[in-house]
Symmetry: C2
């Protein structure tokens, strides 16, 4: 998954070892898994050369990270070599029912 962090989310992630993000749509700090229970234990964190991106390796608790019910948000493959493209579903089985978990 890819998500946004603000300073508070970064600090909480580092201090607690659990992934916190900042929800730009809700304008609020967001502990990953706070609704679903699908929290992320951070295994390692690296920061990039210009220090505007962090890369988390996590142990994903619960069924999955994606709000669509998949394990990963990257469940569609983009085939190469031709244009236009048709996305191919790949490891796209639903690991949980998002309606049951998020109520929407």
């Amino acid at each position: 998954m890819v998500a946004h962090m603000n300073a508070a989310a970064l600090q909480k992630t580092i201090a607690t070892g659990e992934a916190w993000y900042f929800s730009r749509s809700r304008r609020s700090l967001w502990r990953k898994g706070e609704k679903s229970g699908h929290v992320q234990h951070v295994v390692s964190m690296h920061i990039d050369c210009d220090q505007d991106a962090v890369w988390l390796r996590v142990e994903q608790k619960g069924a999955g990270a994606c709000h669509t019910g998949r394990r990963s948000c990257f469940y569609r493959k983009v085939p190469l070599g031709s244009w236009p493209v048709s996305l191919e579903f790949s490891q796209s089985e639903r690991a949980f029912d998002p309606k049951a978990v998020y109520g929407k």
Copy 2:
């Protein structure tokens, strides 16, 4: 590495199987490795749930991807559990001399 793509960069990457990005500082399309020769052959490309992020697995040609001369941009580890943090260098050996390659 993390970089930006515009529509043209995305289309060129898909069509050619080599990584193209869009340089926001230079405001121009950027074939990765055009100066350094450190091109990226795309092994696979996935797109995320809300289709605003693509994840490339690449075969990195040449010495490295990072403008600082490292293999990866993520050469510093963020230790967890305390605040403030001191970054730890990790796999941070220079694989090439950026001055020689980029002339700056």
